[in-house]
């Protein structure tokens, strides 16, 4: 990614129109990356959520962003740990374009663990901030950053959020500007889904598949060519339809012996049909 930083002011023709329309647009945006500044004017969806998220949220954020990006949407998020990072990764996996909005100068890699992710985002997309290069990250800058995430997109998807979390602030900004707010339903017993379930009660659009989001943009989901799966892999995948399971549970239920089960699960993982976290396999939606 080029080290140079591009600055576009509110009165420049390149300034994204959706962002210019919010009630307190930033005076200027700083851009880093190989993506064209016009990327910011393309149809975009924000995918945001909790930093400390569950394996479920992680897997949904990844596959949802992948499908949205494959259909042609730009995925906008905040490059934080957890849901945000997975949203960017999903878009990159689909070969799509993604934009990261930071709460510090665009020359800062924050969080440091995502330096490599920032580099990959910049290969085709953009890293964006309203702050001058060199400005340090600070907690009180993040809510302001969230208004830009919401402002760049006509729809905002909240994947997992606790009550009173930063992701809900993004949803509030989106609502204030009259943009669409969508939420991914979660288990009612999980505190990680309390925020999203509360949004749904208030009338947010539930997301059950990528099509629910794409409908708002008049886009059709792209049928991704699925790799041919072996017989045991299909059997294991069918069993995972009932919910996440460990390898041993799949083996006991299907009778597949551990060696070929491990091979089949790897086949599914490489094909992007299941995810593995902490020894638990989960089918991708």
């Amino acid at each position: 990614m080029g080290a140079e930083v591009l600055r576009i002011r509110r009165r420049d023709s390149l300034f994204p129109p959706l962002l210019a329309a919010i009630h307190d647009p930033p005076p200027a945006l700083f851009l880093r990356g190989n993506g064209e500044p016009a990327t910011l004017a393309r149809a975009a969806a924000a995918v945001v959520g909790a930093r400390a998220c569950s394996a479920y949220g992680r897997s949904v954020a990844r596959s949802l962003s992948r499908d949205l990006a494959a259909a042609g949407l730009v995925i906008v998020s905040g490059m934080a740990r957890g849901i945000d990072g997975e949203a960017h990764r999903g878009a990159l996996e689909a070969g799509g374009t993604t934009v990261a909005v930071l709460g510090c100068g665009v020359d800062r890699d924050y969080p440091a663990a995502h330096a490599e992710l920032a580099r990959r985002i910049g290969e085709r997309g953009l890293v964006v901030s309203e702050y001058e290069p060199g400005i340090e990250p600070a907690p009180w800058r993040f809510p302001a950053r969230n208004r830009i995430i919401a402002g760049l997109c006509s729809a905002t998807v909240i994947v997992e959020a606790r009550e009173r979390s930063g992701a809900l602030i993004t949803a509030d900004f989106a609502l204030e500007e009259g943009r669409d707010v969508l939420a991914v339903p979660g288990e009612i017993t999980s505190s990680l889904s309390a925020g999203t379930n509360a949004l749904l009660r208030l009338g947010a659009i539930p997301v059950t598949c990528a099509g629910d989001v794409l409908e708002l943009f008049d886009l059709a989901p792209i049928e991704m060519s699925q790799a041919e799966l072996g017989a045991t892999a299909q059997e294991a995948l069918a069993f995972l339809g009932d919910g996440p399971r460990t390898a041993d549970e799949i083996g006991r239920a299907t009778g597949i012996e551990p060696g070929s089960l491990a091979a089949s699960l790897m086949e599914l993982e490489l094909a992007g049909r299941v995810t593995l976290e902490d020894g638990v396999y989960r089918a991708m939606v």
């Binding site: 491990a262 790897m266 902490d278 020894g279 638990v280």
Partner: protein
């Protein structure tokens, strides 16, 4: 009046011949030991004097006694010189025939009442004696079975008076009764049948045993990680006689051999606590001693709670893991300790231990999790060929039938090792293609790729296959170090 006795000092595991010379001359009574003798060795003066008197033998009065341990430049330590020193002095006084003494090597510690106590490293001393062309070693009765392993004839003795009587030819050599064969076999290791469920982890253990791969087990507390690790020696092939002697020599020097089981016949299992220092784990100290990695030579080293070990200890492990040998250099000498061991590490998935347990919610912050995993450098994680997550089994799993026994698994392991030795399976083109694709998709380093290829070969060998098929590579990939364990 001069006489000498032969014994051997140890430098690391290597015996070096030492001549114990005793010289008596008229003069002011005195007793000096020269030749770089350490403190325990200097204290021999008092033990030797009391021992000789207690054995109703004559102590040289009105004589100046000089004992020289030659070569003088070699550092001597320990109490094993007591017996040769007393025999040299007695021979110098002609209380026993010097020429008879010259036919024997001797090692042992003296008690104040003249009894002879066993010392550590007797096996290595016996091997040294054999190499010096001596056929008999006078040693404590408890050490005799150990000395016999070196192919030398032990003269098992219990008291100094008995040794002297024997060397004078007054009595026959005390009889050495070889131990029954079963004493030369190892105690059985705990059995795999005790472990219920965890089929995936059992499978990984079997592959680790077949290919001598290092294994990392990650999971919440109480899922059987340690229990599984302790069952690895039981499914490894038994040691050959040559290997068993190698291992026994190390354990003998460390003083870990039980008297009734002089031969370490099964792969050793060592599990140092995470409070152990780097010298204790890799070996060293002021005079070189074998560390845990050498005690686990040809066996298994378990590092339970891997991230709790100090970083310095973990990094120090990398060299022996790579070379299979530890080189310790000290003022006291330079020693090589073999350390070809199989490493098993266990860890929780996060500092609070709740990850991987569906019943509890993990409360670790991203920072704490990062710091926990940071401790395991990529370089160390790269040394684990196999990594398996062991999530908490549900109650139904624990009610399952007992698993396969160690004996059945060991047979497959032995067959696979034979297969790897005689007909190394090669990758098919399809398997190579899958491996290359996976390297692009997964966080795999160059070394990681080599590891996966090696594990795939072992899996093919376990299946008795002639070639490494894509399914073998896929299974090997599923045991890769999960990306999330390497500091994300």
């Amino acid at each position: 009046m001069l006489a000498r006795a032969i014994t051997h000092a140890l430098v690391g595991l290597e015996p070096r011949k030492v001549e114990v010379e005793a010289h008596l001359q008229p003069g002011i009574p005195g007793f000096a030991i020269v030749g770089l003798a350490d403190r325990a060795c200097q204290e021999a003066k008092h033990r030797v004097r009391s021992g000789v008197v207690s054995a109703s033998l004559e102590w040289p009065l009105n004589r100046r006694i000089t004992v020289n341990l030659a070569p003088a430049a070699l550092r001597k330590e320990g109490s094993g010189f007591d017996l040769p020193i007393s025999l040299a002095i007695l021979a110098a006084m002609r209380q026993l025939p010097p020429e008879r003494l010259a036919e024997h090597a001797a090692v042992g510690e003296l008690a104040l009442d003249g009894r002879i106590r066993p010392v550590v490293g007797t096996l290595a001393v016996a091997e040294g004696a054999r190499r010096s062309g001596l056929s008999r070693l006078v040693c404590a009765a408890e050490s005799a079975p150990e000395a016999a392993l070196a192919g030398i004839e032990p003269v098992p003795v219990r008291h100094l008076a008995q040794v002297v009587a024997y060397l004078r030819g007054e009595i026959e050599a005390p009889p050495f009764e070889p131990l029954a064969d079963d004493a030369l076999e190892g105690l059985p290791a705990p059995d795999l049948a005790d472990l219920r469920g965890q089929e995936r982890a059992r499978r990984a253990l079997e592959i680790a045993a077949a290919g001598a791969h290092n294994l990392l087990l990650a999971g919440p507390p109480g899922t059987g990680k340690t229990m599984l690790a302790r069952r690895l020696p039981g499914i490894l092939p038994p040691l050959t006689r040559q290997e068993a002697l190698e291992v026994t020599r190390i354990h003998s020097v460390a003083g870990l051999l039980p008297a009734d089981r002089p031969l370490v016949a099964v792969p050793p299992f060592r599990a140092p606590h995470h409070g152990a220092s780097a010298p204790a784990v890799v070996g060293g100290g002021p005079s070189p001693r074998p560390g845990e990695v050498s005690l686990a030579h040809r066996g298994v080293l378990l590092l339970d709670e891997l991230p709790e070990f100090p970083r310095s200890v973990l990094e120090a492990l990398r060299q022996p893991l790579e070379d299979g040998v530890v080189a310790v250099s000290r003022v006291g000498g330079h020693a090589l300790f073999p350390a070809r061991f199989q490493l098993i590490g266990t860890m929780n998935m996060c500092p609070c231990g709740a990850r991987g347990d569906p019943a509890v919610e993990c409360g670790c912050t991203a920072q704490r999790l990062g710091a926990y995993r940071e401790k395991l450098s990529r370089a160390l994680l790269d040394r684990f060929d196999l990594a398996v997550a062991m999530p908490r089994p549900r109650a139904v799993e624990l009610a399952a039938e007992p698993g396969e026994s160690s004996t059945a698994v060991r047979e497959r392991v032995i067959a696979a090792r034979e297969h790897l030795r005689t007909a190394l399976p090669r990758r098919t083109d399809a398997a190579s293609e899958l491996l290359s694709n996976a390297v692009d998709r997964l966080p795999l380093s160059g070394r990681g790729r080599v590891r996966v290829a090696r594990v795939a070969r072992t899996i093919a060998a376990l299946a008795g296959a002639r070639a490494v098929e894509p399914a073998h590579v896929a299974e090997a990939l599923s045991y890769r170090t999960p990306g999330e364990l390497a500091a994300a």
